[in-house]
């Protein structure tokens, strides 16, 4: 029975997340009693679909999980299969993979910053409404996004679901001239990226801290993207092969997705805030300076400020892309040979939204017998729900419409990729 002082907030369709999903908040009097994020999880389907397929197929198949971060799926799949087969890809081929990944970071972050997240801070109902008012700003964002696209086309074969990635490397490597052609647009993109940091730094941010632990790849000497050990702010550090031991997934009644937590019971956050907080010292000098000028310290636990962190990561990714292109000499062969052998392999890389884990078990004949995929959004769900609980509790004086709007914004702070981990998102905020 619902008591008269119960308050239930329900938003049926969360706008401006990558897909659709649902959120439900119930409060009794002034106390928030329940926060649920309902999601649907395609990777579970793909895990089943991969069983019985050949060991070379996961990069192409898992790239279809998400139109926004196909490279992340390809890179984690390659890392895991190569791990199972005892192969390490290094040198120029590894550089090309990092370059491709930079393209995806640029594209995904630019989309989120300009069309999905910034409208919240500027009072627009949508990126489209903002485009009508601030065409110059939105065109800058789209130009930045296009620079990322151009990398994905040159290295990945095409921007949507790249087709040029294979186990061991690529089907074809770009010529030096093909990559050199990207340098001019990327230099202009670097100016746009720096302007983006300055722009978002001027937004107003509520005081708010996500109390969760943070988890990201870490590799001393670089801002980890496609390789490294898994590290947490609380001091854990482990290899991809130990991910299963330290990250536990469990079913929760309200969601078809699994909720992840650390084996000790702690909820954690993965994604830009985690990467920045663990690895900001390894950013380039220019990106570090941009972050400092934007008011960021060495770590950041305010999810609203994640828009600044994403902008800083775009600066870094553009610079990193230019660095790789500048030193590029085509390798002698487009891929190293990877022969199947019976075993289990693990791969972890940093998707734009956070850590993406793949594990494959393959037989001596190269047939996949088991697959596990843990996308970043499902890892973040528990932390998002807890964060929303505290966020709503502190704002119970707001009316339903305003509270709902703030909740939607709070969810968008995390850039949940519904394509990866949820599909039809309906948000319901209910109080009576």
């Amino acid at each position: 029975m619902t008591h008269r002082n119960d308050r239930v907030l329900a938003v049926a369709e969360l706008a401006r997340v990558e897909g659709e999903g649902a959120m439900y908040i119930r409060a009794s009097g002034d106390v928030v009693e329940e926060v649920r994020l309902d999601i649907y999880e395609p990777p579970r389907f793909f895990e089943a679909f991969l069983r019985g397929r050949g060991y070379a197929e996961p990069p192409d198949i898992t790239a279809r999980i998400c139109g926004i971060c196909p490279v992340a799926y390809q890179m984690s799949a390659c890392a895991a299969i190569e791990d199972a087969c005892g192969v390490t890809v290094y040198g120029t081929l590894a550089d090309l993979r990092r370059l491709l990944y930079c393209g995806e970071w640029i594209e995904s972050h630019a989309l989120h910053i300009y069309l999905l997240h910034a409208p919240d801070f500027l009072g627009y109902a949508s990126g489209i409404e903002m485009a009508a008012d601030r065409r110059d700003i939105v065109e800058r964002g789209l130009a930045l996004k296009k620079a990322g696209n151009s990398i994905m086309e040159a290295v990945g074969g095409r921007a949507i679901h790249p087709v040029n990635v294979r186990i061991g490397g690529f089907y074809r490597v770009p010529t030096r001239a093909e990559l050199a052609a990207l340098a001019g647009p990327l230099r202009r993109a670097l100016d746009d990226a720096l302007a983006t940091v300055r722009w978002v730094a001027g937004f107003e941010f509520p005081d708010h801290a996500c109390g969760a632990d943070m988890l990201a790849l870490s590799l001393p000497g670089t801002y980890a993207i496609e390789r490294g050990a898994v590290a947490t702010l609380s001091g854990m550090r482990f290899g991809a092969a130990e991910f299963d031991e330290h990250v536990v997934e469990e079913h929760v009644p309200h969601s078809t997705a699994l909720h992840a937590h650390l084996a000790g019971g702690g909820r954690y956050l993965t994604g830009p805030l985690a990467r920045y907080s663990l690895n900001s010292s390894w950013l380039s000098p220019l990106a570090r300076a941009a972050a400092r000028d934007a008011g960021l310290g060495p770590a950041c636990d305010n999810p609203f400020r994640s828009i600044i962190v994403r902008a800083v990561e775009v600066v870094y990714a553009v610079e990193e892309a230019l660095r790789i292109i500048d030193g590029y000499q085509p390798p002698g062969r487009p891929a190293v040979e990877v022969r199947p052998r019976a075993g289990v392999g693990h791969g972890v890389t940093e998707a734009p939204r956070g850590t993406l884990y793949h594990r494959y078990q393959i037989g001596a004949d190269g047939i996949i017998t088991d697959a596990r995929i843990v996308p970043p959004t499902s890892q973040n769900q528990a932390a998002i729900e807890t964060d929303l609980h505290a966020f709503v509790q502190a704002r119970m004086d707001l009316d339903d419409a305003e509270l709902t709007r703030r909740c939607e914004q709070a969810i968008r702070n995390y850039d949940p990729c519904i394509s990866c981990s949820t599909h039809f998102l309906n948000l319901t905020v209910d109080r009576s």
Binding site: R64, G67, V138, L142, I160
Partner: protein, 160 residues
Amino acid sequence: MTQAGGPVVVIGIGNEFRRDDGAGPAVVASLHGRVPPDVALTITDGEPARLVDAWTGAALAIVVDAVRVAGPHAPRPGTVHRLVLDRPGSTAERTASSHGLGLDDAVALALALERMPGRLIVHAIEAGDLSQGRGLTPPVAAAVATVATAVLDDIAGSCG
């Protein structure tokens, strides 16, 4: 009127791993080798900025997408709706596609940025099954050939 001889692009929207959502890409795949060499064929997931980029500068853009029909009418899988937008300011009839951000968002964004193609033709195929998996349902598979022919007619008409 469409500018005769201007750039033409055919865009298939969808995800082949969501069954009938793969109708758009299936139509585009069937057009390879059947269109004049200067007609661009592309597929996309429907993300608005990518769509806008794909048709920017085109005299004619032909979009093929699977749709779920909202409202009181029962879905009729395989039924094709052809919509034509040939003047700035006109808007597409809203369709509840399987994509989070839809074609209508792309049109609205393009209008705001003054990046609409000279003419936009949409072939919307009513989907029967948008669950996880590969393969089109029989009525949608049958519609793919019909729409491919209609797209070829659109292209021929634009050159006349």
